[in-house]
């Protein structure tokens, strides 16, 4: 461990980024091959570049490619959202699903779907943002009280999430026909997602990720403590507010297209931090790339493990994430 630290940090960062990008590219490519329908290289190649009415073209271009891209966008958004949350709250156990943001977004989307079935689909992200902000604010208002520990904040997040989910179940049973469709979405996964979801997600993911990167020196100052940051002339409250807005946009749009997928925002920032350190200028892009990798590979696994059946990828991230959470819990000192 010590020896590794002595390698030039810049080389280390560049290497991590390159390997990460390579793995991500590989994941997207592999994603177009993997599945119930086995395809060889030339078929995929033709399907990608030659518009035609063949089944292969439909499978590769309309089903697998948008799904891989969407997975990458969702994974990157969730991971960076988690990294920002952990920075704002100084809490290693926080991520969108554990702090009420995902449950809030889900509740609002379900509410809209059941109560106003005719709403224009383009509104979904905005509704998700409102819900994410509501859930996050509920939990944060608990935490703003003096003396709340990281563990307490997480526990409050879980309780708020349970409450919001109960409200959602209550809304769901009002209209059982719609509920059937919503439950499919609630499992949290990428099954059946296409280009329309990519175009819904893309602007939010890109702008959110870019702004998150733009905030990274402010985020660094936030980690140094209040006095240092003020000495640097950085407004802490403004930084927290901007970062919180970005987390809401990133996590909210991810929930809007892929449903509640947990633990990506918990695992990835930790892994990234152990690879490249906690400088947010590097942490944000590395988290984005690794988060994208996790979700694309996870989705490939989820749809091939029990072919032709599909697991929601959220199940897979929970299988990895919950033990990881327990590991972090054991490391955490204090209450």
């Amino acid at each position: 461990m010590h020896g590794k630290r002595q390698t030039n940090p810049i080389i280390r960062v560049v290497l991590t980024l390159l390997i990460g990008l390579f793995l991500l590219l590989l994941a997207v490519i592999y994603s177009t091959f993997a599945g119930t329908m086995q395809l060889d290289v030339s078929t995929v190649w033709q399907a990608l570049w030659q518009p035609s009415d063949t089944v292969e073209r439909a499978v590769v271009w309309d089903l697998r490619l948008p799904r891989a891209l969407l997975g990458a966008l969702v994974g990157a958004s969730l991971a960076v959202s988690g990294a920002l949350m952990q920075g704002i709250t100084h809490n290693p156990l926080v991520e969108p699903k554990l702090i009420g943001v995902t449950a809030g977004a889900s509740l609002f989307i379900v509410g809209l779907t059941v109560l106003y079935p005719d709403f224009p689909i383009g509104w979904t992200p905005f509704v998700a943002f409102a819900g994410a902000a509501t859930g996050g604010l509920l939990v944060y208002s608990m935490a703003s009280q003096r003396g709340v520990t990281p563990l307490g904040l997480t526990l409050a997040g879980v309780a708020v999430s349970l409450f919001l989910s109960a409200l959602m179940m209550g809304i769901l049973v009002i209209d059982l026909e719609t509920a059937g469709l919503v439950i499919f979405w609630l499992a949290g996964g990428l099954a059946g997602r296409g280009w329309s979801h990519v175009s819904m997600m893309l602007p939010w993911a890109i702008s959110g990720l870019v702004i998150a990167w733009g905030l990274s020196s402010r985020m660094n100052a936030l980690q140094l403590g209040d006095e240092v940051a003020q000495g640097l002339g950085i407004s802490l409250d403004a930084t927290r507010l901007y970062a919180a807005l970005v987390t809401v946009v990133l996590a909210g749009s991810a929930v809007a297209v892929a449903g509640p997928i947990g633990f990506v925002g918990l695992i990835i920032p930790h892994v990234s931090r152990s690879l490249v350190g906690s400088d947010y200028r590097v942490l944000v892009p590395v988290s984005a790339i690794l988060g994208a990798c996790l979700l694309v590979y996870g989705d490939i696994a989820a749809r091939t493990i029990r072919e032709p059946l599909e697991w929601p990828v959220g199940v897979l991230t929970a299988f990895i994430g919950a033990p990881f959470f327990l590991y972090l819990l054991r490391k955490e000192r204090g209450r």
Binding site: L93, M142, Q145, G147, V148, T149, L151, G152, T154, L155, A156, V158, A159, V160, L162, F163, S165, A166, L167, M169, G170, V173, I174, D175, L176, A187, G262, F263, R306, L309, E310, W311, P312, G314, V315, L316, A318, F319, G321, A322, P323, F325, L326, L329, R330, E332, R335
Partner: protein
């Protein structure tokens, strides 16, 4: 005995709740019909409604509520932790996981195997939570967090097993969400022996429970075999939660809210706390179930939704107190 007015009030509310639960539903009955149906169990519509559909469901609800509440009371005492409940500690999801495992692997298994598998799931969960949360002592908050992570894990396991499963498992999903829908006499009779056994054991062990609450040194000083008592009580709590989940799925927060409120009224003496928690827990689940099937009729809101809406804010309130 200062608890008497409380006990009388509780019993009266129970009687009223049972009568209301008989009266309301898909087919509303007049009070006259209810009384006729209750006491002249004949082939009339009223008699059938009361004795074939509504009464078994009511009784299952009462037993489930009693089991969950007493289980929660015991767990809170053993862990000396106000934030513990069968749901928070991962027992409900553990029991559900084991039950679904049996349903998907051995579809022909008899209804009486279900409680047994649910017990082992609950036992596995509680063991894991304790092992994982133990770190030179046990903190309330860490225990609850470990339980929540474990619950997420079991929940993911349940979803994974459900994928592509048969119609039978579709029904199991509904059941897992904490509903008393379609509960009949066979559920009641598979739940009854376990409930009677564990509730009476819990009551017999109530003096030990009181001693445990005094602290380790004092209870050892009283000549008690502390670890044995603690282990037995934990096992009783596991049996209660497991059989409740096997009968009605994961109805959350009953074990958290009821013991607290009852303790506020009648004090912390477990000889009184246990029977009164049992009655109050039964009342809570019965009311939640009746509300769930009447408020939005013809759709049914699972009882677990109401208990969570009630329980989660209460949990937050307790958390704020615990963190202060």
């Amino acid at each position: 005995m200062k608890q008497r007015p409380f006990l009388i009030g509780l019993l009266l509310s129970l009687v009223v709740a049972i009568l209301l639960a008989i009266q309301f539903g898909g087919v509303a009955m007049s009070l006259h019909d209810v009384i006729n149906g209750l006491f002249m169990a004949d082939d009339s519509l009223a008699g059938k409604l009361v004795w074939e559909y509504r009464m078994p469901r009511i009784l299952v609800g009462l037993l489930v509520g009693a089991n969950l509440a007493v289980s929660g009371a015991i767990l809170q005492g053993i862990a000396r932790n106000p934030l513990v409940d069968t749901n928070i500690i991962g027992m409900n999801d553990g029991a559900g996981f084991a039950a679904v495992l049996v349903i998907t692997m051995v579809p022909s298994a008899s209804a009486f195997l279900l409680p047994l598998s649910a017990f082992s799931g609950a036992l596995l969960a509680v063991t894991l939570v304790y092992v994982l949360a133990w770190k030179r002592g046990m903190s309330p908050v860490r225990l609850a967090l470990a339980g929540i992570a474990l619950a997420a894990l079991f929940d993911a396991g349940i979803t994974a097993m459900m994928i592509g499963a048969t119609d039978q498992v579709g029904a199991a999903l509904l059941w897992l969400k904490g509903s008393l829908w379609g509960r009949g006499w066979e559920h009641f009779f598979s739940l009854l022996p376990w409930s009677l056994l564990s509730l009476s054991l819990a009551w017999l062990l109530a003096p030990r429970m009181n001693a445990i609450c005094l602290g380790d040194q004092l209870s050892r000083g009283l000549g008690m075999r502390l670890e044995l008592a603690r282990g037995t009580l934990l096992f009783v709590a596991v049996v209660m939660a497991g059989s409740a989940v096997a009968a009605a799925g994961t109805i959350g927060f009953v074990g958290l809210v009821v013991p607290h409120l009852v303790r506020l009224w009648v004090g912390a003496d477990y000889r009184i706390l246990i029977p009164i928690s049992a009655l109050a827990g039964g009342l809570l689940v019965l009311v939640a179930d009746t509300a769930g099937r009447t408020l939005f009729a013809p759709t049914e809101v699972p009882a677990g939704v109401f208990t969570a809406l009630l329980g989660a804010p209460y949990f937050l309130y307790l958390l704020r107190k615990a963190l202060r």
